[in-house]
Symmetry: C2
Subunit: 239 residues, 2 copies
């Protein structure tokens, strides 16, 4: 049976998603919980391999398991094994052939910025603290340039593993909630560090310059990569 | 000059407000920051001496200082010295005679409950996780019994330091925001553990029984004391 799991995690205490020897990772914790709950399982896949410090509210993983609890009780059984900085928020049976990564149609990330003049202890490691004034209208104008297909090579490290830099952005907008400002962005898929480098660039760029950067410029022309602790994988869409 | 400071802190890493030898406390961290920023200061007072694990969004402290930065720059100077789980969110000059505790007219606390069937890593140590169903109407009816003057001796430990158990509740109501439920309660002052024991009792009590408990019953007749990590000192009001 194929299980589809929706996961939430606070990335602060993890060296990212992907299991690495000697490091605490989300995948490592999930594998240990799967070992405890299912007599036999394999084929663990994930929609987005988040970097160290990056959070998730709607990460999706898939795996094939024999035995163990039915889908309706899998979340509770796994949560009993998982530490409190990662949780399964939904578990369901998926159709044969479902693959968390290859079946995904789009991913939605949010990047959170805390704009108050003073820092907030509740936002430490959960948002970028940016106490200098930000022009919400300029940010909105930049976000409006994102939908469509662009060459994002300026927004990923030069020592890249990517061959293709075109990505299709389906939606992008800034939302303000008091002192918190968030960039919501949905695309078919993302290059490594893409959202963080878009945000680091948007903090300063003017629309004309930003539009130019979206058409395949060298990495050196874009801005800094914003820190990982503001980034959340919010949800993954499937057909 | 009298300084009035508004403080925010995540109580997770603190043994409460009050300085204790060998323990990490909010007061201890603030005293170290004050030593670094003001050549001379004394008379530190606080509106609410929160227990270990209890959070604050609007704690108020007062002190008298000579020299050092003017009020307009005191927050920034203190935040540069404070660790990231406590912050000064406002600093202002207060009139002679202002005392954070004795001048306070009322305190407002919020107790947060996370009601989703699955836990949230972002709510761990910031809310009580209560996955069983709660009847919002019953909770509202209980909260409606709180305003007015009552004898709260059932809601504080028996080995008490209080002499008087009458407290005047000015406002009390539950507010729901998705899976998060919060009791907002304002009173002239509070007994030790009062909000946490009110919440622990409200989770199960019926209105008739709860009304009786508000009129001076033994501690043994009330419910459990809810854990500290759901409690926030939200604000303190002054004339």
């Amino acid at each position: 049976m194929i299980h589809r799991l929706t996961l939430e995690y606070d990335g602060t205490g993890f060296s990212g998603w992907a299991a690495q020897p000697g490091r605490r990772t989300v995948e490592g914790e999930l594998r240990a919980a799967l070992d405890a709950v299912f007599p036999s399982w394999d084929g663990l896949a994930v929609a987005g391999r988040t970097d160290a410090g990056v959070h998730a509210r709607g990460q999706v993983a898939s795996l094939s398991a024999a035995g163990g609890p039915p889908a309706a009780r899998a979340a509770e059984a796994l949560n009993a094994e998982l530490p409190d900085d990662v949780a399964v928020v939904a578990a369901e049976e998926a159709p044969e052939g479902f693959h968390a990564r290859f079946s995904a149609r789009s991913r939605t990330y949010r990047y959170r910025i805390w704009t108050r003049r003073t820092p907030s202890p509740f936002e430490a490691r959960r948002a970028l603290w940016h106490p200098r004034p930000l022009d919400d209208e300029r940010l909105a104008a930049l976000a409006a340039l994102l939908p469509g297909e662009h060459d994002f090579r300026a927004f990923t490290p030069t020592d890249t593993q990517h061959d293709v830099f075109l990505r299709a952005v389906l939606d992008a907008r800034w939302e303000r909630d008091g002192d918190a400002l968030g960039l919501w962005i949905t695309a078919d898929s993302f290059l490594r560090h893409m959202v963080r480098t878009l945000v680091g660039t948007m903090l300063d760029a003017e629309p004309e310059r930003f539009a130019c950067l979206l058409e395949g410029r060298p990495r050196s022309e874009a801005g800094r990569t914003a820190p990982p602790w503001g980034l959340y994988l919010e949800r993954v869409a499937y057909d």
